[in-house]
């Protein structure tokens, strides 16, 4: 049953990793604006829709 020590250590380490990830994300400002990213993520793909873009494959790469 001494495996418990090992399991316990792993579980605590995993928990701490997530905790640190949380702290880092707050520190980077990810919780400062929780609305705009939800809109922003819907943009990019649809840019290709512009007909002018299709004639200019050079520009197109920029967005992919």
């Amino acid at each position: 049953m001494s495996i418990i020590y090992m399991l316990l250590a792993i579980s605590v380490v995993v928990a701490i990793i997530f905790f640190v990830a949380f702290i880092v994300s707050v520190r980077k400002g990810q919780y400062d604006d929780v609305y705009t990213p939800s809109v922003r993520m819907l943009f990019e793909d649809e840019l290709v829709k512009s007909p002018a873009k299709e004639n200019q494959p050079v520009n197109k790469e920029k967005f992919n």
């Binding site: 049953m1 418990i4 707050v26 919780y31 649809e46 829709k49």
Partner: protein, 794 residues
């Protein structure tokens, strides 16, 4: 009626067709052209008619060439990278985000840009070598997103976010989860071999997890309790801090002495739930600022004419202007200091300061005060008092702007916590005394158990969740309150003071009444033709009223500044303007006290159009509803011309006071408060700022939430002002919900105390009771507020 493809407004004045699309003005068409030619027409696919019609004056941003001002505005400046943040109030939809984040396609000098939608700000990184700050601002303005650059941008750079509550909540949540998981085995299994082997390790792990919870996440409660005790107040944080402290000490003692597992699970859960309540209450409307003063509206720079050489104009930072300097103020510019007119005719719009829409005419040699906006030609001014000492700025040095209004208000929670704390302490002492005689070994256990179980977690959660929910409901309807405590204060209001102009009347529309000799159709058409050419605001509004009669184009047109206009039509002469200008004596105009435009035809006086404010819809109904349990007062900076109409709107026992200057309004509110009344002030302009700050609650009414609000406790959309009475009801019911929650949580506390005083409090009981009471309070308050808001919809 065609509506504009770009901004969605009806094309009233003109209709421009371009690429089979209609536009309401050249500005909108230009934006479309710019976007279209840069392959950015996806802007219009995202949202229908998302645009804002641009209003650009070319020389408006000259001051952005001044290196010192640029340096202050830039957040970061190193070689080829410059970063700047702007507040852009016209950001309103997903198209706005998209176009602003694709600025780099409009100009190669822009590297990247990021929009913060809730705050309505944009952060742009660019290369100054390729695009100067001025050109960047011009670019933004040209596509309809004019940034706000005012004096307060000059003083502070981006303030740091306060993220400590999120950290504390994160720490508490992390520890709560882990401790729960570690304490689970001991809840049910007793005297099991392996458990006995590991329980010490588990316990010490729980202990170490609980350390940051007590000393970091919970530290605000200790600080607040200490402050409360020092000022002789038993606030709600006193029993909470006591509970946390006793939980920690007893649990530590138990594991050190090997008496049991302790209550680390309940401890971390308690702190976690309390912080959750705090977090929930902390709803802020970041795009609104409730602490604005004149600095949010004053320009950052003015044009100075250097004294040695009269010809040189330079853009100078407003704070550098000294007494005796000569400055130029152009059309639509704000005068930032008290000054004397050297040259030119001033038509000053003081609506920003006083709420009055009429222009004030001043000639050479007259004094003008800070805060006025010049309309018309360029004027040259000699500065008498610099910005910091001007009349308007001194209004802000009044002490009411310094004091914290929520101070001195006893919240319901704090009122109940005093009795609660005393009751809990007496029960603890009584129970301990009993057990000291009955079974001394249990006395310590009972004493701590009472303090633990009585920790008023549920009571402390009732107000944050109820008020936090109401705050969101209010926000959805169009009342943006500064914080949750405003709702509680709102429930106690017994007197409502309204400002008149701009608050209960609309600022836009006016109606005109004609008195005098009848005008023929021909005369009306000539009138229309004359008015169309004039840019005076009264002419504009009269023109819109008379428009439908048709117009005749005048042969000659002459405008006498400060007096009126004169037009000739095939031998007929029309004069429009002041009474004296049209040949009528002044006496009548003064006697009826109304704003009027006088007309004469062929030197014969015809009569006058007198303007009246239009009252907002539903005002009479609102006053009736409010007067049931509140005293209503109307304060007006105007003369008494509207007394009779106001009297017909107001309930009998209300008060009306005219000719109130900003200082008078403040003093009036103070007098009411001395008569132990709880006053809510509803106002709109800077002239109400003092009164808004002095009253228990100051609500600013605004037709466009983003544009203007003086320092206040709440900003309200003008269109819902007539529903104000409903929100008072809602606030009152909110307080009843809190009271009901108190009763519910007392039931839990009494149940818990029954376990505690008999000495039977097991960790598992505490671990169940604590979250159960908290969660049921949260559910109860959320449901109750939702039901209330449903009723409000109608």
């Amino acid at each position: 009626m065609e509506s504009c493809f770009h901004c969605g407004e009806d094309c009233l004045e003109e209709l421009i067709t371009f690429e089979k699309k209609s536009f309401c003005c050249a500005g909108c068409k230009t934006v479309f052209e710019i976007l279209n030619s840069n392959d950015l027409s996806y802007y219009y696919d995202l949202q229908e008619a998302p645009g804002i019609s641009p209003k650009l004056k070319d020389d408006k941003y000259e001051y952005l060439e001044n290196a010192e001002i640029v340096d202050r505005l830039l957040e970061f400046d190193h070689e080829k990278t410059q970063i700047v943040s702007f507040s852009i109030p016209s950001i309103h939809c997903s198209s706005c985000i998209w176009i602003l984040e694709n600025l780099h396609k409009l100009h190669s000098g822009v590297k990247s840009s990021q929009v913060d939608f809730p705050k309505k700000t944009i952060r742009i990184s660019f290369t100054a070598e390729e695009i100067s700050l001025k050109n960047l601002v011009v670019l933004l303005s040209r596509i309809g997103y004019e940034p706000n650059i005012y004096l307060d941008n000059f003083e502070k750079k981006e303030s740091e976010h306060d993220r400590s509550l999120i950290y504390k909540l994160g720490v508490a949540g992390f520890a709560f989860g882990n401790i729960m998981f570690l304490s689970f085995p001991e809840y049910f299994e007793i005297n099991e071999f392996w458990l006995d082997q590991f329980k010490y390790l588990f316990r010490w792990l729980m202990f170490s997890f609980s350390l940051p919870v007590v000393f970091y996440s919970g530290k605000d409660y200790f600080i607040s309790a200490y402050k409360g005790l020092r000022s002789g107040m038993l606030n709600i944080d006193v029993p909470i801090a006591l509970g946390i402290f006793v939980l920690f000490v007893r649990s530590t003692a138990e594991i050190v002495l090997d008496l049991g597992t302790g209550f680390f699970d309940s401890l971390s859960g308690l702190v976690f739930f309390l912080l959750l309540g705090k977090f929930f209450q902390q709803k802020t409307y970041s795009f609104l600022s409730f602490e604005r003063d004149y600095k949010s509206y004053f320009p950052i720079a003015v044009t100075r004419i250097s004294s040695e050489d009269e010809q040189v104009e330079e853009q100078v930072q407003v704070y550098k202007i000294r007494k005796g300097d000569t400055v130029l103020i152009r059309n639509e510019e704000l005068i930032p200091m008290d000054a004397e007119i050297l040259e030119g005719q001033a038509n000053i719009d003081y609506s920003f300061v006083t709420g009055e829409a009429d222009l004030v005419n001043k000639a050479e040699g007259d004094k003008v005060y800070a805060g006025g906006r010049q309309k018309g030609s360029i004027i040259k001014l000699k500065v008498l008092k610099p910005v910091e000492q001007s009349y308007l700025t001194e209004l802000w040095s009044n002490e009411v702007f310094q004091k914290d209004r929520s101070f001195g208000f006893q919240s319901l929670t704090n009122r109940i916590s005093k009795n609660f704390t005393i009751a809990v302490l007496s029960i603890a002492v009584l129970a301990t005394t009993f057990w000291l005689f009955a079974d001394p070994s249990k006395a310590w256990n009972v004493f701590t158990a009472v303090l633990i179980i009585a920790c008023p977690c549920a009571i402390a959660l009732a107000a944050p969740f109820t008020l936090g929910n109401l705050l969101r409901i209010f926000g959805k309807k169009g009342i943006y309150l500064k914080d949750a405590s405003v709702i509680e204060r709102m429930a106690a209001i017994d007197t409502v003071v309204f400002d008149k102009t701009g608050t209960i009347t609309t600022t836009g529309q006016t109606t005109a009444e004609y008195e005098g000799l009848e005008l023929s159709d021909k005369e009306l058409q000539m009138l229309g033709g004359s008015l169309k050419a004039s840019s005076h605001p009264l002419s504009r509004s009269l023109y819109s009223i008379l428009q439908h009669h048709g117009i005749r184009t005048p042969d000659s047109y002459k405008e006498y500044v400060g007096a009126g206009i004169e037009c000739d039509f095939e031998g007929n002469r029309i004069k429009i303007g002041s009474a004296r200008f049209t040949g009528e004596s002044d006496s009548e105009e003064i006697s009826n006290g109304k704003t009027a435009v006088h007309i004469s035809s062929n030197e014969q006086y015809k009569g006058c159009f007198s303007f009246r404010n239009t009252y907002r819809k539903g005002m009479s109904g609102l006053f009736q509803q409010l007067s049931r349990d509140k005293y209503i007062i109307v304060l007006s900076g105007d003369n008494e011309g509207e007394r009779d109409r106001l009297l017909s709107l107001l309930p009998v026992e209300s008060g009306i006071h005219f000719n109130q200057k900003p200082g008078d309004k403040l003093e009036f509110i103070r007098q009411l408060q001395h008569g132990s009344r709880k006053v809510m002030m509803v106002g709109d302009g800077l002239n109400d700022a003092g009164a808004l700050a002095q009253s228990e609650i100051g609500i600013a009414v605004s037709e466009n939430i983003n544009v203007f609000s003086p320092a206040c406790d709440g900003v309200m959309d003008a269109s819902i002002l007539s529903n104000l009475a409903d929100y008072f009801q809602l606030a009152k019911k909110g307080v009843s919900i809190i009271q009901a929650s108190f009763i519910l949580s007392l039931v839990y506390n009494i149940t818990g105390l029954a376990f505690a005083v008999t000495g039977n409090l097991m960790p598992v009981v505490a671990a169940i009771l604590m979250p159960l009471s908290s969660i049921s309070i949260v559910i109860f308050t959320t449901l109750a507020t939702q039901i209330l808001s449903k009723k409000l919809k109608k």
